[in-house]
């Protein structure tokens, strides 16, 4: 039988994860409205990663995966198509995979490094999708640009998440 605190915990968790998924979707939508910073396809800030990293640190890998998957699915339904869904899914899965490993090795410290690895692997995953869709190795010309962009944007989102994690929500965080 579950205790009173257990119930509170799980209610808090569900509410929080729903909120994070919604925030992630909102950030994604706002970001897609921004004009492209650099005229290179595939390069964008990836601000939703802030929420993924936050969910990973605060709750765990399963929860981060759920938030990420819900966000990707909803964003593809609302703003994208089947092709953009495949790009997002593989990029997101690759990023989360390496972020979980990196966070374990770094023991939760240096979140900006974890973010950088996430950005790098996100772009690597998307490059693999591009290789499959375009069916030409010519897309590999983008590799160095995507690698640099992934590391820099990941560094930024990692730092954002680091500062976000320092904010404690009174009354809510104590119960977790």
């Amino acid at each position: 039988m579950r205790t009173h605190t257990d119930k509170r915990k799980s209610t808090y968790r569900i509410a929080m994860l729903g909120l994070l998924a919604a925030m992630s979707l909102g950030i994604y939508a706002l970001e897609s409205l921004l004009p492209p910073l650099i005229p290179i396809p595939g390069i964008k800030p990836g601000l939703s990663n802030i929420i993924t990293l936050f969910a990973l640190r605060r709750f765990g890998k399963k929860e981060a995966g759920t938030v990420l998957f819900v966000r990707i699915l909803l964003s593809a339904l609302l703003f994208g198509n089947a092709v953009s869904l495949v790009y997002s899914l593989l990029g997101g899965a690759a990023a989360l995979f390496i972020e979980v490993i990196s966070d374990k090795i770094l023991k939760g410290k240096y979140l900006y490094l974890t973010g950088s690895f996430g950005g790098l692997f996100h772009n690597a995953g998307q490059l693999i999708v591009a290789l499959i869709i375009m069916r030409t190795t010519a897309v590999l010309a983008y590799t160095p640009y995507l690698a640099i962009a992934g590391i820099i944007t990941g560094l930024f989102t990692g730092l954002c998440s680091h500062f976000l994690l320092k904010i404690r929500i009174p009354g809510a965080d104590e119960s977790v």
Partner: protein, 133 residues
């Protein structure tokens, strides 16, 4: 851990510098995984405008001479002796247009929503493109 990232950055910068010194002239337009148009920058006189309509449901991409924006999805490509550029597109972010005029050594022009890729490579059959699968 940070050493891996710094090394990746250095290797990337090296490859960017290496790629920029190329001097190729062979244009290839890929649409939906197929090469739909080829030509050499050296053979172009004046300007050439073509429209690529991506394949729908298992068909082939359409290649139309001149600018034709009457289709649902399209990219209008302008080729001059100075380089290749996308002048019109139905895609949302217009990155392909923002990429500007591509000459040798530049990144390929890509329009991900329309599955379009334009490359400038060494003469046909040479270089990395020979590995096209």
């Amino acid at each position: 851990m940070s050493a891996i990232l710094i090394l990746t950055l250095f290797v990337s910068v090296f490859f960017i510098i290496k790629d920029r010194s190329k001097n190729d002239a062979f244009i290839k337009i890929h649409s939906c995984g197929e090469v739909v148009w080829t030509g050499s920058l050296k053979d172009i006189q004046g300007e050439r405008v073509i429209t690529i309509v991506p394949a729908q449901g298992g068909g082939h991409a359409l290649v139309i001479e001149g600018a034709d924006t009457s289709y649902e999805h399209y990219n209008v490509i302008r080729i001059t002796p100075d380089g290749v550029s996308v002048t019109e597109s139905d895609c949302k972010n217009r990155i392909c247009i923002h990429q500007g005029v591509m000459t040798s050594g530049d990144l390929p022009i890509a329009c991900l929503p329309n599955r379009l890729l334009i490359t400038i490579s060494p003469e046909e059959g040479n270089g990395a493109d020979a590995y096209t699968y």
